[in-house]
């Protein structure tokens, strides 16, 4: 059967192509963000380098949009990379270029570079924000590289504003940032950045240049840097925590390297510290210096040297931890696990092999046995230093009980055998001495149980094998009996003492850990600038210390969970927390109240009021020890202090605000009643007299009435305008305005008031049109002129000028007078409402300038007051300027 000529079935090739297309569409692209603390740290540079690397491996890379700001080194990187032409279009008479989303989607590269994640697109683009473009690219299956500064993150913008005083307008929601599969932090020290700034390697837009001085202060940079680092760390930490909640604290995660160096009193420790710092710097890792204090006090000299070494470590940027243990190896490993350190650095042991045997191996050997997944570096001393002070490395490490009993058995066996051959020459009494010696030696090495066992066993062995009559437990002579009893007592005492020493050491260690934890907490809390920061820091500490999840509920009218909690409170837990809140007693798991619940609930109590509830949840199989619960309560007490402080601060603020507004209200009432009553009094008395007055008086009275009416009108208009401004009811209608027109219209309205003053105006004939709300601007100019007329002595001149500030693209109007001017300290608050110049004559509520500023700001402009050279005040209004579109001649 012949095929029809126009077969509508798609060809296999076309089908395949369509399938592949669908497949790639289904795949969501990956987003990588190059993240930095501020402009100029080299994000774009790093992004381009990464892109070149990708290109070299054969990936289809396309530069969507990259701002090189004409920096040579960045531009050099751009060479050889395919660049997407920008979309050019005209808006309001200005030619703009913008990232071409359509073209990028049509071209479909594997990886596309889109600089400046937070950028706001030019009007008329498909999306108002560039990150929306990026999301569309990702949805289309393209991988995207982009750049972002910490100040553009919505949640951090406020903090940045607080730090730098520069408001950030272009922000990216954190949820969008969460889309990033990968974040690369581009970090630079403030010193280095300032250097780059000085060398002109940092591009600043005009507007930014204004703020630059403020923005790039060293202190600001440090704060910004911390903000950026912390943000990234938090993000990483969040991911780790999710893992940590389910896995026991037996290992470290190699999430970024962290080095730990053991510091002793030896001078070679100095070299060790420097070596570790070099390593840490090379790896970009954090590092800890740990000193392990033995239970036996060190001599003063050794103590001083340790202090010196620790000071050095602190100066070199280490976090210093002091822990207490008689087993250095165990202490180092424990500290490493607690602090998630991935590498331990110790000095190569120089002690004798004989001593090492006695200690159960050299420090390095013992570390090797215990360190598990932690890397170990044994660094030799670089030169023969003075003889190291033997510091308490001589006590044995803790062993497993079985092993210790084994050791006891072996020792006793060996000693017994030796004594068997020795008795014929030395007699059975010296055998007792040998046993005692072995006992003492053992008590130094093994725990309480094994020591007691050794005591009993050795006594029995001695009695059975050596004390006559042999091979019986009977003792025939009295002095043998006394010897045996003494031996038994000494052996037991030795075992008991050893155990006590050990218990004391362990107790000390616990106290130490507790103190350190509390110290870290208070440090974090005092560093926190807001309560939110403090809660966040405290909860993270709890999570870390107890391998737990924690949440905080703050008390108001009811309990509200704080956002920093690491788990969501269930309804049931909520009930427990409510109970805790009402009863101000702990409850939940590990307590007698509602023990079946998941979390351990602790009230935050201050002065008999419960300000919140702290909930700590550990895995069902894990438990919190008494000491840990105690520590959690201490944490809660600390947090309560912070919460209360915040409450007090807020209350103080509210009170201050209330007092302010009360003052303001009183001032307003006084002023308004005075201002309203004066013209009303004039009017009513004038009207009464009018009936009986003669012709001349009548004319005068009418004049007075007119003045009073004018004053009332102005007052009411001002009050209305102020209300409109404050209610946000002011809608500006920006339109093209002619300065000559505006000034003429404004002068029309105030000609009478200006009558007593010589007036000069100077407006260039060719001043261009600009966009403003004509009605508002007329009022602004009129009110400024009126102000000048009202508040300066009669017959002093008033000047009005206008023009274009080409360099800064703005139109300016100035109204200058030869009045008394304003003292510097007054200028600040001049534009606040109900502020009246000291020289103000009676009349006016002090609203005029506040309204003027409101109107100017509403049009996107600003107003400043300055000093007129030669005396008087100058008010200058600036309005943004952009040229208008072409006007056809005919």
């Amino acid at each position: 059967m012949p095929e029809p000529a126009n077969d509508l079935r798609p060809s296999p090739d076309a089908l395949l192509a369509a399938l592949q297309r669908d497949e790639s569409r289904a795949r969501r692209g990956r987003l990588k963000v190059f993240f930095g603390m501020c402009p100029g740290v080299g994000k774009t540079y790093a992004m381009l380098r990464a892109a070149r690397e990708e290109l070299r491996t054969g990936i289809d890379v396309l530069v969507g949009i990259v701002e090189t700001h004409r920096r040579a080194e960045t531009e050099a990187l751009l060479e050889g990379l395919p660049v997407l032409p920008r979309r050019t279009f005209t808006h309001a008479g200005i030619t703009l270029t913008e990232f071409d989303l359509e073209a990028a989607l049509a071209r479909r590269p594997r990886l596309i570079l889109v600089d400046e994640f937070a950028h706001t697109n030019a009007p008329g683009s498909r999306h108002p924000k560039r990150y929306q473009d990026v999301i569309e690219l990702l949805d289309a299956g393209l991988d995207v590289y982009t750049t972002l500064n910490v100040q553009h993150l919505e949640s951090r913008a406020d903090a940045v504003r607080q730090i730098t005083g520069v408001a950030v307008r272009e922000t990216v929601p954190d949820s969008v940032f969460e889309l990033a599969d990968q974040i690369e932090l581009i970090d630079l020290t403030p010193e280095a950045l300032r250097e780059r700034l000085a060398e002109g390697k940092v591009y600043l837009a005009d507007r930014a240049a204004l703020a630059a001085d403020n923005f790039f202060k060293d202190t600001h940079l440090t704060a910004l840097r911390e903000l950026a680092l912390r943000f990234v760390a938090e993000r990483v930490d969040k991911r780790l925590r999710e893992l940590r909640a389910t896995s026991p604290l037996k290992t470290v995660w190699r999430s970024g390297e962290r080095l730990l160096v053991g510091v002793g009193p030896s001078p070679s420790s100095t070299q060790l510290i420097r070596w570790t710092r070099r390593m840490a710097a090379a790896q970009g890792a954090a590092w800890l210096a740990v000193s392990v204090e033995p239970s036996r006090p060190l001599d003063a000299e050794a103590q001083r040297r340790i202090e010196q070494n620790l000071t050095l470590a602190r100066e070199l940027g280490a976090e210093v931890v002091i822990t207490r243990d008689d087993d250095i190896a165990a202490a180092l490993v424990r500290t490493a696990l607690q602090n998630n350190a991935t590498q331990i650095v110790v000095g190569k042991s120089r002690s004798s092999p004989w001593l090492d045997f006695f200690r159960g191996g050299s420090l390095v050997d013992r570390l090797l046995r215990q360190s598990g997944p932690i890397d170990l570096y044994a660094v030799p001393a670089e030169r023969a230093a003075e003889k190291p002070i033997a510091w308490l490395d001589w006590l044995p490490a803790e062993r497993s009980p079985a092993r210790e009993y084994g050791e006891v058995a072996v020792t006793l066996g060996v000693v017994t055998a030796a004594c068997w051959f020795l008795t014929p020459f030395a007699g059975y009494l010296s055998v007792g001495m040998i046993y005692l010696f072995a006992m003492i030696a053992l008590s130094l090495r093994v725990g309480r149980g094994p020591v007691l066992a050794a005591g009993v066993a050795s006594a029995l062995l001695w009695d059975f094998l050596f004390i006559p009559p042999l091979f019986t437990f009977a003792i025939s002579k009295l002095e043998d009996g006394m010897m045996f009893a003494t031996y038994f007592a000494v052996a037991l005492a030795a075992g008991h003492l050893t155990a006590r020493i050990r218990a004391a050491a362990r107790h000390e260690r616990l106290r130490e850990e507790r103190a350190t934890a509390l110290f870290h907490l208070t440090e974090a809390l005092s560093a926190a600038r807001t309560l939110d920061d403090a809660v966040f820091a405290a909860l993270r500490q709890i999570d870390r210390l107890f391998a737990a999840q924690s949440a905080l509920l703050l008390a108001g009218d009811s309990l509200t969970p704080h956002f920093a909690g690491s788990f969501a409170i269930s309804e049931k837990e909520r009930g427990v927390a409510d109970w805790v809140w009402r009863n101000r007693k702990r409850a939940g798991r590990f307590t007698d109240t509602l023990p079946a619940s998941e979390g351990f609930h602790v009230p935050l109590v201050r002065d008999d009021t419960c300000v919140g509830v702290l909930v700590v949840r550990v895995a069902p199989e894990a438990a919190l020890t008494l000491a840990q619960r105690d520590l959690i309560e201490s944490f809660a007490a600390q947090l309560a202090l912070n919460v209360e402080r915040e409450h007090l601060r807020a209350a103080g603020e509210r009170e201050k605000l209330l007092a302010e507004s009360e003052k303001l209200h009183r001032a307003l009432l006084d002023a308004v009643s005075h201002e309203l009553k004066t013209p009303l009094a004039v009017l009513s008395s004038a009207l009464e007299t009018l009936a009986t007055a003669d012709e001349a008086t009548r004319a005068a009275l009418l004049g007075e009435s007119r003045t009073a009416t004018g004053r009332l009108t102005r007052l009411v208009n001002n009050l209305l305008d102020q209300t409109r401004l404050e209610a946000g009811a002011l809608r500006t209608r920006l339109d093209w305005c002619d300065a000559h027109d505006l000034i003429a219209a404004a002068l029309d309205g105030v000609r009478d008031s200006l009558a007593g003053h010589p007036f000069e105006s100077d407006v260039p004939a060719d001043i261009p049109l600009f966009r403003a709300d004509a009605a508002l601007m007329e009022q602004v100019i009129a009110n400024l002129l009126l102000n000048a007329a009202l508040h300066t002595p009669a017959a002093t001149p008033i000047f009005l000028t206008a023009g274009l500030d080409q360099a800064r693209r703005r139109i300016f109007f100035t109204v200058a007078d030869r009045g008394p001017g304003f003292p510097l300290e007054m200028r600040e608050r001049l534009f606040q409402k109900f502020q009246r110049g000291d020289a103000a004559r009676a009349g006016g509520l002090g609203l005029g300038l506040s309204i003027i500023r409101g109107f100017v700001v509403a049009q996107g402009g600003e107003i400043v007051v300055g000093e007129n050279p030669g005396g008087g005040a100058v008010f200058t209004v600036y309005l943004p300027y952009e040229p208008h579109g072409n006007v056809p001649g005919e």
């Binding site: 208009n717 339109d735 219209a745 007329e778 208008h884 006007v887 056809p888």
Partner: protein, 230 residues
Amino acid sequence: MTAPAPKPDLLVIDDEVQIRRLLRLTLESAGYRVREAETGALGLNEAAVARPDAVILDLSLPDLGGLEVLRHLREWSQVPVLILSVRGGETDKIAALDAGADDYLTKPFGGGELLARLRVLLRRAQPAGEVSIVRFGDVEVDFTKRTVTREGADLHLTVKEYALLRLLLQHRGKVVTHRQLLREVWGPQHEADTHYLRVHMANLRKKIEPADTPFIKTESGIGYRFTDAG
């Protein structure tokens, strides 16, 4: 001697009784007959029944709203309408003017100003014979010959400038909104291109106005008004 002209009949639509009383006093003493209406609906009724020569309409009425009244009125009447409004209500004013109001006054206003505006409205309402020559200052505009001279010398105006001047002169004494000017001179598609208007108006002024006496008055945010003694 010609017979005294009949008293022009005015309708005041305002809900404030004191304003109505004051207007009545002012207008009657100036020789007008005055009718009052308290609400928009009553006002429309009165306008239909009494056929006044001009209407003074407050924009903020309790029932219909001044703008609404104006729209209804314009469906069947071309009576001159003077709008009363408050400061800050530019948007309402423009809407009213574009909807066919002839002029506006911002409260509070003086009696003299009100009477002057009314005179202009009523003069325009009279079927004046087609004026072919208009003079102001030392400028003379001849509509039939389409020429403009100043102190006898020819002034060269561009087509748009001439059109603007003509439109303003036709509505002499009354405000013409930006939108009206743009629509008439450039066409409805350019209603928003106020910069055309500003540029050409500035050029026109340079040509016809002496430095110190502007004939074309700027009504900020609203439009222009041609004013002169005549």
